[in-house]
Amino acid sequence: MASAEVITGKASASAGSAPVPGVPANVDPVFYAQLKFRRRQYEPCIDICTELLQRNPYDRAVWLLKTRALTEQAYVDDTDLEEQGVADLLMDDNAMAQAPRPGTSINRPGTSSARPGSSLDPSIRPVTASGRPMSGFLRPSTAATAASGTARMRTGSARANSAFRGARAGSARPLTSLGRRVRLGTASMLSQKGGPFIDVQRLDLRKYAKRPQLAKALCDFLLYHDNNPRKAVELAAAATVVMGYSDWFWKSRLAKGYYMIGLMREAERQLRSALGHQPIVECFLELGKVYLRLDQPAAALDAFSRGAEASPSDVSLKLAVARTHELVGEAQLALEAFRRVLHYDASSAEAIASLAAHHFYSDQPEVALKHYRRLLQMGLFSAELWNNLGLSCFHAGQYDMTLTCFDRALSLAGDDAIADVWHNVAQVAVGLGDSALAYQALKVALAADASHAESMINLGVLELRRDRADTARSLFSSAQRLAPHLFEAWFNGALLSYKLGDFQEAYRQVSQALEAYPGHADSLELMKQLRRLFTLT
């Protein structure tokens, strides 16, 4: 979604006759730089512009080109929801209600996701560290349990600990959502010769605001390259005034700046006003994003669907709808939305992967297999995909393919995925009744990633079958420490303690299990038994 309209070259004002390095002879250097820009070869384009600007610092066309090239280089598609930072999670000043009604909040998906039989049910589908059911497609997302600590029994430090943990194993959460951008900005600054290209502090923004073409490029430069939302807001505000409050572009940029600073309500107002001028897909997406950040999924859905009315064949809005449904835990609605996405874009990897995951977890591995095969045909080639193919093959009863798929997954897997693949190999081994192989695979998984809690839990169960209760108990307790979101670790530990007669421990662990998964039938039963033991005189 490139922003300002491309300014076709006014190359006439180019400088002297000395050849510019990197430009063929008899070719106008500005034209050549523009060619490079259009071919997305930003590095040579910037080099030529820098050289030209040294010769003539007041050449506006070159200045504009260089600004745009630098912006494009640092451009990130920010219409997706980014990961929330620790600061946002712990000091959430946008929270609307302490105890929202079920189904109206992302942070507390409510009863719908735990509904037995749905494919998002935690006892069928595993849960990520953020406390959400594993999605079919990896995307940054908000945390469920960490953020909703307000109404829970969590102590302050436990809440902070879970907030610092990233959504994936071994990853950390950025401190603020802006933090990642700032770091990227400084890193790219360093690589520049002779200091920053534009010294923002010395710019007279009001002067630029009167020149719309330059100002648009400068504003995007400030937002994407400099990561300086404060200045961008200043510029955008001035430009809006100049344009007589009637240009959607400046309002949307104003909103983007406000969003980066964290002023959600202001961003919302600007976006609504921008949409009043012209229904732009990007603005609808941004508006939805603002609502999601405010934890108002219903309002976000409304924004997305209004956008879909305005531009019926846009895929990104439909994807956003599907994602939002999944965040709230409405599996069935999400499924339909993903199907609609595929209707318009038959090779949307996110939609295919999500559908595949849904079918896999609702006892239709054959259908999942079809979807994954489609992904393979589209040219995706990753450890995760082969791993999923292997699992689908196994559950669909195609044993001959299973192990070759896992072989490929293992040969492709990097450090972050290899433990997961071995864990699944163990799962298959258990399914074949080969507990020795399962044991070894889990050991390998733990060797690859010593903090792989899922493997620890399964290894604990295998140790229990070998009558080594002490080893099992220590495995369960390390898994509980590493991954408090996994109810399996708590429940298994509780059951073991209960059988050994240590009811105090059992009670503690089963309460934790119920906090991780309030609807777990077996935990509830165990809790009932313990309560009865405690109240009996």
Partner: protein, 412 residues
């Protein structure tokens, strides 16, 4: 102030503590108790006792133990407090310490208290000291018969492997509390273990009339209904249970086999797969999956599931038996025969002999096949005699196969 006056002051508000405690108004009760403990310098025995009880019900056993021990310091020979200390120790899994406290209680004059003996029995049970446990429970019952004691006594008998005594115990308990669903279900399950399904069904049905939604009872009753090939009824029973326990692998296993009985193989495999997903270590699920696949002619899948089943349960004769059939159909006679031999070591039956004979016949080993044919006829007659009717000998399925084999092997 005299000691007596101080003691009266300490106990002045005991009635209110008691009142709040039995109303389960724990917050107010704890506040009052803390006030009283502050005023008395921690010397108020009843307040300590009630606080201990509340803490235990809140699941904080260690804290409640400390409170009871503090109360015990104030009156070391109080049986009631001794019992609570023992109970806390027992809940914490320290059964030996609990036993010694209980001994102390007996010394302090509680030899006629059923609770003490019951608690002793429970501790012995956890230490797998079954004879002592049984003695303790019987002692408790002689003081004062109680349902929970009967249940524990029955459990001790069951652990000892003495099902008849266990059954007697439960029946005795049923006389005093005939509408206890737990007892009724336990008796039903026991009859099932003794393979007396009619009796079992009687008790389970009785239990279901008191609590029609108990998943455990439904599962047991459903499995008996299934044994009588009444698939639709069993399925309707499971539908009730599924709402309560949607992730019970045994229930999914039974549902799968109901569908198998109804010849709905795809539904059956789907249910069994879900059971296997939820309980990967259950051999019976893998065994059933193997059988369903054998029935639908998917021999390779059947082989995988059956081999998983026999890996999980090495003493599963029928598992080896059907594994051999799968191997025979897959065209691997040598391994099939070795599996048949292995199955024969574990258990014997006319079906096994029949399948063995068919497999041998199919791969052209006539001499051995004839031998197995005679074994089969002998086993069939023996089985018919044991059942006491001639139904087996006139079963058309068996007759057709026997005659076909006889013809193929030239036996007259």
């Amino acid at each position: 102030m005299s000691a007596a006056a101080r003691s009266i002051l300490r106990e002045r508000k005991n009635w209110l503590v008691h009142e709040l405690y039995v109303r389960r108004d724990f917050g107010a009760c704890l506040r009052l108790i803390d006030e009283q403990l502050d005023a008395s310098g921690g010397l108020s025995e009843y307040a300590l006792y009630v606080k201990g009880m509340i803490r235990r019900q809140q699941g904080r056993i260690t804290e409640s133990l400390q409170l009871f021990q503090a109360a015990l310091c104030l009156s070391p020979r109080n049986v009631r407090i001794l019992k609570q200390v023992a109970r806390s120790l027992q809940l914490l899994g320290k059964h030996r310490n609990a036993l010694s406290v209980l001994e102390q209680a007996v010394v302090c004059g509680a030899s006629e208290d059923w609770e003490v003996h019951h608690a002793k029995g429970v501790c012995y049970l956890f230490r797998r000291d079954l004879d002592d446990a049984i003695n303790a429970f019987e002692e408790a019952n002689s003081c004062h018969p109680h349902e929970s004691t009967y249940l524990q006594l029955g459990k001790a008998h069951e652990l000892k492997g003495d099902l008849t005594s266990a059954l007697e115990t439960y029946m005795e308990a049923l006389e005093s509390s005939p509408d206890s669903t737990e007892l009724l279900t336990t008796v039903g399950l026991l009859y099932m273990r003794k393979r007396d399904t009619d009796k079992a069904f009687e008790f389970l049905g009785n239990s279901l009339t008191h609590d029609p939604r108990d998943p455990k009872t439904i599962l047991a009753a459903g499995s008996i209904i299934q044994d009588h090939r009444d698939w639709e009824v069993a399925l309707s029973k499971y539908r009730v249970a599924a709402a309560r326990t949607p992730h019970n692998p045994h229930m999914w296993n039974n549902i799968g086999m109901c569908f198998f009985g109804l010849d709905k193989f795809i539904a059956s495999v789907a249910c069994l797969k879900r059971a296997a997903y939820l309980a990967p270590f259950e051999w019976i699920v893998q065994y059933n999956l193997g059988i369903v696949h054998l029935r639908t002619g998917q021999n390779a899948s059947a082989f995988h599931h059956l081999s998983a089943a026999v890996q999980l349960n090495r003493r599963l004769g029928n598992g080896f038996h059907y594994l051999a059939v799968a191997l025979g159909r897959l065209g691997d006679p040598d391994n099939a025969i070795s599996m048949f031999e292995r199955a024969l070591k574990l258990d014997d039956g006319f079906q096994l002999r029949l399948n063995y004979c068919i497999s041998l016949c199919n791969c052209g080993r006539v001499v051995e096949a004839i031998e197995q044919y005679h074994e089969f006829v002998r086993a069939l007659e023996a089985a018919a005699k044991e059942d006491g009717d001639d139904e087996l000998l006139t079963d058309p399925d068996i007759i057709i196969r026997r005659d076909a084999l006889a013809k193929a092997l030239n036996i007259v």
